[in-house]
């Protein structure tokens, strides 16, 4: 159960500056534990202390859980989870007022996997309400701040996860990615974020946003941790009909350091006006590195890229409008009736509950999604968007005949200022312009740190690969990381 902040502070005040285990990666911590240098308890204490110290600044965690009594074998470094992943007996809210106090009676598939690997869930991470957003500014629990610059957003919607890992409050975390919600905040916070192939990780227990786009994935400090967490969460699940029965390789074994002959596609459509110059030059120097290491750089074209954002906002909002219909005040969550109504009917209850329970962006997307599915508009919007989606997928299929990976910036900018885009939804939507196509095509995509801009804000490099080619993504990312220790830099908090 969550402790109050005051209880937590008293409990851990003593230990505040005693250890810096929190600054390590999961594989480093595992190494120390295996060699007997530290205990699981030491790790928990260090992390808790760090969270107590930093969370008031970042607001990355929205709930902190007590470490339960447990058998320490097997042991897995605690995995923090985004607040849209069901954790039995704990509140899971999607950062929305409508789900305040909703406690799922079951664990998500990924939580089961973490538990059986010996892991615990140290707390729930902030997000944009129902994962609708790119800045973690629409949470009912308040905004999350970027550890690299507290006046800036951490990205979103998994902003809490990226900020927690960047701040050392969590060693690693799970986010969800519907249109870039893992990769864009990873980019903004200087950490590694992977959106797996659609169907690689079970969605059972992930509160749905866009069912045909959603995937759970790791947010970690480095590529090695990313591979290790993928080993834990991947795999077929009978309970998710969209999960795919493809054997799970040992992703840690894919971390080789050889880039010779790797064919890298550079899509012209991802290097366009509107990208910040420093982002562009940083990404270009990454391309130079790959070239130098013996990779084959190919200019490619993904001609339907320009339609991706439009298609995405039709498909994703259509699915969301239906997925969120269940939050109606009947079975669980918030129930509200109009104050003035003498005799409120069921429709009054629906309207009042949803009017009060949902924030503006959620309402905006429900309206959009409802509209595009409406009689007379379905063909013009939803059906056409699905056709565009097929064209985008075909673009990638064609590209991957000649390339092993496709490289681009993760986002057109580095972290923007809090409030900068809240009044301009379209500008906010464009923050995901380079991440959305991978969701539409269902392909895996990773964002890794590739440097900093002049304001010392992290820049992200995105790599995409064919379905179920996560190994090649991790291998390429690992090779880059070995030569560029950006991941070792820590935000000063």
């Amino acid at each position: 159960m969550p402790l109050t902040a005051a209880q937590v502070i008293i409990k851990f005040q003593r230990l505040l500056n005693s250890m810096d285990l929190f600054a390590l990666t999961a594989h480093e911590i595992m190494g120390l534990i295996v060699s007997g240098k530290v205990s699981a308890g030491d790790v928990a204490v260090s992390l808790r202390a760090r969270t107590v110290a930093c969370n008031p600044k970042t607001n990355a965690f929205i709930r902190i859980y007590d470490d339960p009594e447990r058998d320490e074998k097997p042991y897995c470094v605690p995995v923090a989870i985004k607040d849209n992943i069901c954790f039995k007996g704990h509140p899971v809210t999607c950062a929305s007022g409508i789900l305040k106090n909703f406690c799922p009676p079951y664990d998500a598939a990924v939580v089961e996997k973490i538990k059986s690997a010996g892991g615990v869930i140290p707390g729930a991470l902030n997000m944009d309400e129902f994962a609708f957003g790119s800045s973690t500014e629409s949470s009912v629990y308040g905004i999350t701040r970027n550890p690299w610059d507290l006046e800036r957003v951490p990205g979103g919607s998994s902003g809490g996860a990226a900020a927690a890992v960047a701040a050392g409050e969590a060693v690693w975390a799970l986010g969800s990615d519907t249109g870039g919600s893992i990769r864009q905040p990873a980019s903004f916070c200087g950490v590694v974020g992977l959106k797996p192939t659609y169907g690689r990780v079970s969605r059972y227990g992930l509160i749905a946003f866009g069912s045909s786009l959603d995937q759970i994935g790791p947010i970690t400090k480095d590529v090695t941790d990313c591979a290790a967490l993928m080993n834990i969460i991947s795999g077929f699940d009978m309970r998710d009909s969209t999960s795919v029965n493809v054997p799970v390789p040992d992703y840690c074994r894919s971390l080789t350091n050889n880039l010779k002959g790797l064919r890298i596609g550079i899509p012209g459509e991802y290097f366009i006006d509107g990208i910040e110059q420093e982002v562009l030059s940083t990404v270009r120097s990454a391309i130079d590195f790959f070239k130098k290491e013996g990779a084959v750089i190919k200019e490619i074209t993904l001609p339907h890229t320009e339609y991706a954002v439009a298609a995405y906002y039709i498909v994703a909002t259509a699915e969301a409008s239906s997925n969120l219909a269940r939050f109606d005040g009947v079975e669980y969550g918030l129930r509200a009736v109009p104050a003035k109504a003498r005799k409120a009917g069921i429709v009054d209850m629906y309207e009042e509950t949803r009017a009060r329970g949902f924030g503006d962006e959620v309402k905006r997307r429900i309206m959009l999604g409802t509209y595009v599915l409406s009689a007379g508009y379905y063909d013009a919007y939803y059906l056409r968007a699905q056709k565009v989606r097929t064209l985008i997928k075909n673009d990638f299929d064609r590209a991957f005949l000649d390339c092993d990976i496709i490289l681009s910036p993760t986002a057109p900018t580095t972290a923007f200022r809090i409030g900068e885009k809240t009044q301009d939804p379209i500008a906010m939507y464009l923050s995901d312009i380079f991440t959305i196509p991978a969701n539409l095509a269902g392909i895996p995509s990773i964002s890794i740190p590739c440097g900093f801009d002049g304001k010392k804000l992290p820049v992200g490099l995105q790599l995409m690969a064919a379905p179920f080619a996560e190994e090649i993504l991790l291998a390429s990312a690992f090779a880059y990381e070995q030569a560029h220790p950006w991941h070792l830099e820590r935000a000063k908090l």
Binding site: C94, S212, S241, S322, A325, Y350, L373, A375, Y378
Partner: protein, 480 residues
């Protein structure tokens, strides 16, 4: 066609709950009559994060129904979401099939008004049932029972091919029989496992364009469907004759008052916003799978009727009665295989045995009667051991008791007197009392003996074989 010059046009939508062991998208038991909200899980409760997994047994039932209704089977299996808000629908959408129903166009031959008529089937699709609302007047609250949520349904939509309430009734009876043979549902309207909505319109005789239709709901029996349609046709005819227009709307049948009332317009203004269900991946059924289901489809009522008539040399009329219930027909076949004359067996089943069933309002499998026992009983009647009348008495007993036929004959003392000397004294007495009749017989009217047989039977209730008595009388009369 009616006297008013209007033709009635009826199409029916039948919702059928399937009798699969588990629900359509989760592992919960598919049962009726449990305590409220006990057969539920995160999936059928529509809890956030839960996902549906399709129960392939439902597909088998769907294909069976499609094949039996002569439908084209869609091998591409796809689900869609039908979005609407109602408290019994926990997800805010129903998972259904929109553009690729499991079964496409087909037809059902229906015997109506003495002729066989083909009623077109538009489609049959698979979907999930919603929960049940219970209105609690004491607390002035509405409660929801989610046990029914996720019960597999097949919706069978007919073409607007029926022209009278009676035709609609005959269609439903025929359809229900077919579905019972398929063993996909218990087809019990009272439990709600079979539900029917009717689309009704009228048009001037000779007109080919359809009139404005209304949809009738809330009928709890086939006869209620018939009555509701009759009422609606009258109402629509009255409106048109008065020069008014028919408004397309949904009407609820009130069985007690025998009237229909419109649903609130808010509940009618649905735009269901169908779109493909992203949580279920479409798949293709192989022709081998369909072939396997095909082999699993039992002989259907119509085919069985014709086979019975031919194989057992019984009338179509008799065969039709036999096949009206699958277990009844099974019983007949089992008994017929025991070397008894089929026509005799059929007479016993369709008359005295049917009376027992009707009196007890049950199906034959609820009785203790076995095919062998019925055959033994008929054999005893045929060989003269007991009279026809005693046979019926035995039947009425053994259907409940299960006692062996011969034992019962013995304990009840029902065996007929076949010993001539015992009969002779009675016959002689009767002959003596009726000299005129004896004269008539002697003068060449052997039929007059019937009266004397009757008199003798009265004195030996149930124990004398009339054939034997007749023989005896004829012999005595000619000898004397």
């Amino acid at each position: 066609m009616s006297l008013t010059g209007f033709e009635t046009v009826i199409g029916l939508e039948v919702h059928l709950q399937l009798n699969t062991a588990t629900k359509i998208f989760c592992g919960c038991r598919n049962v009726f009559g449990e305590d409220a909200n006990t057969s539920v899980c995160p999936v059928c409760l529509g809890l956030p994060g839960s996902l549906p997994v399709f129960n392939r047994k439902v597909l088998v039932s769907g294909i069976k129904v499609g094949l039996a209704l002569n439908c084209a089977i869609n091998t591409f299996v796809k689900f869609d979401r039908k979005n609407y808000y109602y408290p019994d629908l926990p997800k805010g959408y129903q998972i259904s099939q929109f553009d690729f129903p499991i079964a496409g166009k087909g037809f059902l031959p229906v015997l109506t008004d003495g002729k066989e008529k083909r009623i077109g089937i538009t489609r049959a699709h698979i979907e999930e049932d919603a929960g049940k609302l219970i209105h609690d007047d004491v607390q002035n609250a509405t409660l929801v029972d989610y046990n029914r949520t996720g019960t597999p349904l097949i919706e069978i939509v007919s073409e607007p091919d029926m022209r009278s309430p009676q035709e609609a009734f005959d269609y439903l009876t025929t359809l229900k029989l077919l579905l019972q043979y398929l063993d996909v549902s218990d087809c019990d309207m009272e439990k709600g496992s079979l539900r029917c909505d009717a689309n009704v319109s009228i048009r001037p005789a000779g007109e080919t364009k359809l009139g404005t239709k209304t949809e009738l709901k809330n009928m709890n029996s086939f006869s209620a469907v018939k009555r509701a349609i009759e009422h609606e046709v009258k109402r629509q005819t009255g409106l048109l004759l008065a020069g008014e227009k028919i408004v397309q709307q949904t009407l609820l049948w009130n069985e007690d008052k025998g009237i229909t009332t419109p649903m609130r317009s808010k509940e009618q203004a649905h735009d269901y916003r169908y779109f493909p269900e992203p949580d279920l991946v479409p798949f293709t059924v192989t022709s081998e799978e369909i072939e396997r289901v095909c082999q699993d489809v039992p002989e259907l009522p119509n085919a069985r009727l014709h086979r019975f008539a031919e194989q057992y040399s019984i009338s179509e009329y008799d065969a039709r009665i036999l096949v009206q219930d699958r277990v009844f027909a099974d019983f007949f076949e089992a008994a017929a295989g025991m070397g008894i004359e089929a026509k005799k067996l059929c007479n016993w089943m369709n008359s005295p045995l049917m009376k027992e069933l009707n009196d007890r309002k049950c199906r034959i499998n609820a009785l203790k009667l076995t095919p062998a026992a019925l055959v033994a009983l008929i054999t005893r009647v045929e060989d003269g051991t007991i009279s026809n009348l005693s046979g019926k008495e035995v039947l009425a007993d053994i259907v409940i008791s299960g006692t062996a036929v011969d034992d019962l004959i013995k304990t009840k003392g029902l065996a007929q007197i076949s010993d001539d000397s015992a009969l002779e004294s009675v016959v002689d007495a009767i002959l003596g009392e009726n000299p005129q009749v004896v004269e008539q017989i002697r003068s060449g009217k052997p039929g007059a003996a019937g009266f004397l047989v009757g008199q003798a039977m009265k004195r030996l209730p149930g124990k004398a074989n009339p054939k034997k008595l007749n023989e005896l009388i004829q012999r005595r009369v000619t000898n004397v």
